[in-house]
Every structure is written in structure tokens, then in C-alpha cells.
Symmetry: D3
Subunit: 135 residues, 6 copies
């Protein structure tokens, strides 16, 4: 088994807020991330696919194809967007890095047909990183 | 003369829009950056001070002091903020990287009293960088 | 299960030396790292916590809280220090990257109460990295 | 168990082409990577060794020794080379990142006698990464 | 005046060789870079444009436009190519980083019509960088 | 004129202290950097040489030669050393990044005979950078 990773990039605004909580609790739990007018990030996503490279191509998955899937299924839907307001698959979900990574997994897992989706790694900032490998 | 550079980091939302233009012109000029609900970035700012290090300290400017100035004068006012709505010194200014760098210069230049402010370099993303060195 | 990683930074001096060995053996095994007056590094530590994000917060662990734990339990005790002389929890331990990572694990594991400590990854330099995931 | 990683660097030319396929199929599968005169990369290889650090040295493997093994067994044989034409252990193998990583594993596994080879991670570019952990 | 920088990326093969020199002299001057079958790099190019941002747009040059110019005029002509054999504007020119940077300047200078081309910075590898700012 | 930059790396211990000052003043000015047992850094040095590439070689300076000069004149004298105690050319000089950069300039300027030394840029940490371009 070989793991193949391709990166994608997007920038987006978001706000961490649970509408069923009081303002006071949102402030306590989410702090500055609860700023009413939002803030934003340059996100990096690393999509890792596991598989065995066939002898005739030597590739687990064609990286051009993987790059296109990431571009079409993820980047075009979140890049230069507000994750709370503009992204259908995040509706009703608090856009923490954890929740974004899980949402990305749900979208990509059925689209990866050469090899098998192994992990979604999301860098929200230089210092904050999350990774999801499915259930 | 020695140049001394200290970095700072912030993340913020913004939208590029000129309210005196038509929607069509805003879309044409600013493209995806004109998204009504905004998007965002992890910004890195590099503040460079020029001076001659005195023999007794060997420092153009105490980097702890420079770091505190950057933190108090810049980062605390823009980090986890919406640059269009939450930042007093950006009011009425389109928050392009160019305009942010010039605004940062105006704030910092009078605060640097050891050495002299030499440049403000702002990374909006991995691929987009601006630099302002004063008039 | 989602993995959440937060980075911390410190710089420190150290010397690799086993006092029960001859000078000759210390030189042979530790080479330049055995320099009597020490040398130093900018270390980066990545602390990874594993858990399942609750629906109401969407966070495995509050990254602000994790950042504070890293700062108070690790960084304040090693930053701008000599790891052989100034750090109580390294007393009698050769400060190789491996041993520092294990020592960090022992300190942090009981402090992580949301989620569970998953790994300590320590970058001693651009080219040397160690990782410890517990026993 | 502690994982110890050492990086190495090399630059090389390569071409992705299966001589038993038609030109049309090579173009379709390998795209720009099938350019007849080749292209090239700055590769980074991360070699990870797993083991338990003995109390007297505190090191899973002496990083100087690991660095020398990487230099002699890998870098000197591929650096500033054409991977299709100049490298004996790649003869008859399509030089995809997957295949290079597997070839590196086969070379290094028997050479690592302190600890045990755990993974070969190969960065072909900023956005394309593969990893092999043995069968 | 504000400096605006946009990055581009390409990977290419090349060989350093002066056909009017003896093999012995080529080996002595160019060393490993003279390997007959070539080697390659992941290049990064930073294009910097200088200008004054107009008040109504706040942009020295539209970064989307600059990115397209870099893509069409430079990247498409060198990416996944052999710089000695496949690139018309490098014909008869030894593809050192210095010569590539100067060639890029000649191509881009007349294409930059908002602001003025200020510098071409080319990273051949992590450790080798050249910059050209015109005559 | 083309600028050519080559990087070098070293790790070292140092302490900022002016022996002619009181302990109290040293603490106030140098803070944590005055720790009696020292601390340390992974330093990166960028050496930039300016010149015009001759038509027959296309190189301002042979980067192999520049790399060797950096290795022999700088790196071997400071790597894995204590800058206060082990380095002859730093004797009596407070090892701030500013002073190290100036000392490096004095050593390298007469050694660069192809092209002309243009700048010494020294990264003490990710966030602290100094640059010296001569008088």
C-alpha cells in the first residue's frame, strides 16, 4: 500500500457560533472566533488516497485526476466564500476545522474510485491542523 | 545600516468592493474578492526597521519592544476581525493588501523611535505579497 | 475520531553527553553535539489530540485551551533555557530529541482532559524530526 | 516506540512513459509528464526509523549515521541524474513518485540496523507527496 | 510606490553545458549540472510590479491579471519542459538560473502595463535563488 | 546586474550579555536572552552576490564555489558552537543577530572575487531576521 497526497488551497471567511447558545456562552467557548462580522483564513487541504500502484502505470491514482476532483468538489465550493453563509454542505454546521474536514471526507469518499480515501488533513493556520480518517 | 525584521500574524475577513461603482464593475474588477459575504486570509506582516546597532547593546531595536509594538498597534486591531466593518483605521478604505500595508505604515512610522521604519511587507496568501517603503 | 494538532515554538541550548562514558566515547557517539559549551536549536513541537467533536461545539478540544496548556506546561519551562542545566524535568536525562519528546508526553498526557493525547512531534531542525505516541 | 525522521534532498529529471503503450495512451495517462525530453523536480525524501532509544545514548539511531546512509545509498545515486537513464535501480521501472519510494524502501530496509525502517515519504513537488511503509 | 509580488511555479529539466567548450572544461565549470541526460528542478518565480495604487481600486495591478500573464507568458512555455530542447526563447542560451531570470524579464517587461516590472526572482532550489531588476 | 543568493544553515548557542553592565540592566535590556546558561537557535544565512553573468558560463558566481566558501568560512566556524565562547571572530562582541551579520560580512567580502558581496541576511528564528549590505 502506498499513500498519495495532493494539496489544495482556498481562502474563506467564517464565524464560530452556536445559535442555540447564549451570547455569553458563545463568547466563552469560541472567544475571538465568535466575532459577529467574521474573520477568515487561508486554508490548505491535504487529501490522501491509499492504494497499490499497478505495474503498467506506477500510479495509485492519477494526480491530475485527483487534483481535478479536489478543485471541482471542494475548492470551487469554498474558495473566496463565507463558510457560514455561502456553502450549501456546511448549512447548519459550525465551521470548525474539525467539521470542515469531516464534511470534505463525506464529499470526497464516494468520488475516489482509484484507490481509497485515507485521510483529509486541513490546515486552518500555521499552528492549527486537523485530520480525519473516516470512522 | 542594518535592517531588522520582525514578523506578526493575523487572520481576518475582508471584501473588495467600491460602493461608488456598479455591481457589474465591482464584479469585473474585483472578481471573487467581491463576494458579498466576504472571504478571508491568514496574513503575515513583516516590519523592517533600519538603523545602526550601538556597540553596547548590539541591537538596532530591541526585538521584544518591536514585537510588542506590532502586537499592540497592529495585530490586536485586526486579528479575528472583519477589515471592512470592525477596523477603525480602514474605514472608507478598500482593504486591498496594498491599502492595508500603507495604513500599517502610517500607524507604525511614528511609533518606531529606535531606528527608522524601512518597510512593511504583507503576505495576503502564499502567492500574493505587497511591500511599502514609504513615499 | 478527529486528530487536532497545535504547534508551539521554543529555542534552547543543549549538549549531548553521557557523564558515565569516556570523553572519547562521547565524542564518537555524539560528535559535534558533544561540544562542551553547547549549541542550540529553534524547536517546533506539534501536540496532537484525538477525539470526537461534540455536535454543539464542533471542537475536539478548544485550541485556545490547548495552546495555553502547551505554553504553560512546556514552552515557559524550556524557552530560552539550557536543557541540560535549567530544566527540572530533564535533570539526569540526555536531551536528545527522542528524550525531550518522551518527557513532553509525560507532562502533557495527564493535562489533556478533552480528547486524548495522541502524539508529540518535535522538530529539532529542518532535517531532524522525532515523534512519540506513548507506549 | 519513537519515530525518528531525517530528510534528504535531490534534484533529478524524469519522464513518465510506458514503452509497451501507444503514444496516444501514454499521452492520455501521463499527460505533460510524458514530454519526450523530460522535465524535473527538486525532491525531498523523509526517511523514518522506529525504535526505542536506549537509556545510555537516548537515540533510536544516530542521526549522523542515518544521514550518511541516506546520502550514500540514495542521494549520490539520484542527485543531478536522469531517473530514466542514469539510475541502475530504476531500470525498467516507470519513475513515478510511488515507484521511487518503493525502490528507496528496498534499498534502505536492509541498511537500517539500529531501529527498523518505518516509512519513506517522498515530496515530488510542493503539492504531490507519496509515502510507503512496506508491505 | 508599492511593490506587488505574485508567485508562479513550474518544473523543468535542464543541463548546463557550453557546446563551444571541451568536455573537460564543461565538467570543471558546471560539475554535476553538466550531466549529459540532464537533471531538473521545481522552480518558483516571483514577479514584482511597482506602482501607485489608484484610490478607486486600491490595486497597483489586478493580481488576477498578473497571475494570468505569468501563467500564459511564462509557465505554459516552461512547465514540464526541457529548458535546453523545448523552449524557444532559451534557444542558444545556457539555462542557468541567471539566464532564465533575464529571459523572463525580457518577456514580461512589455506585458506589464499597469505599474512597471520591478524584479524577477527565481528559486531554482531551496538554497539557490537569483534576482534580476533590469539594467 | 543579477543578484545570486545561496543559503547556509548552522545551529549554535548564545547569550546576550554586556559584561560592563549591571545584572539588572542586562536583564532589562536582553530579557530572556540573558539567561546565564545560554539558549540557542537554528540559524539560516543567505549570502547574496551581485554581478553580471558572462555569456560563456551564464553564472555570476559558480554556486558550488559560493557554497564552499560559505561552508568553510562561516558554517564550520559557528555550527554546533557556543557563539560567546567558541568562535574567535566573535570574541568581545555581543552575539546579537545584527553583530553576527556584520561579522560574517567582514569575513566574506574579501573572499568573493567573482561578483561582489551584496548582502548578508540572517534568520535567527522564524520571526527575527536581520540584513546587512555593508557601509
Amino acid at each position: 500500500m502506498v499513500l498519495v497526497t495532493r494539496k489544495g488551497y482556498f481562502c474563506a471567511a467564517h464565524r464560530l457560533n452556536n445559535p442555540s447558545w447564549s451570547d455569553e456562552k458563545n463568547d466563552r467557548v469560541f472567544g475571538k472566533c465568535n466575532n459577529p462580522n467574521g474573520h477568515g483564513h487561508n486554508y490548505t487541504v491535504e487529501v490522501t488516497v491509499a492504494g497499490s500502484p499497478p505495474a503498467d502505470s506506477g500510479m495509485v491514482i492519477d494526480l491530475k485526476v485527483l487534483a481535478e476532483i479536489i478543485e471541482e468538489e471542494l475548492i470551487e465550493r469554498v474558495d473566496h466564500k463565507n463558510l457560514n453563509m455561502d456553502v450549501d454542505f456546511m448549512r447548519g454546521i459550525i465551521p470548525t476545522a474539525e467539521n470542515i474536514a469531516v464534511a470534505f471526507w463525506k464529499i470526497l469518499a464516494p468520488k475516489i474510485t482509484e484507490g481509497k480515501l485515507y485521510s483529509i488533513r486541513l490546515y486552518e493556520s500555521q499552528n492549527n491542523i486537523v485530520e480525519y480518517r473516516g470512522d
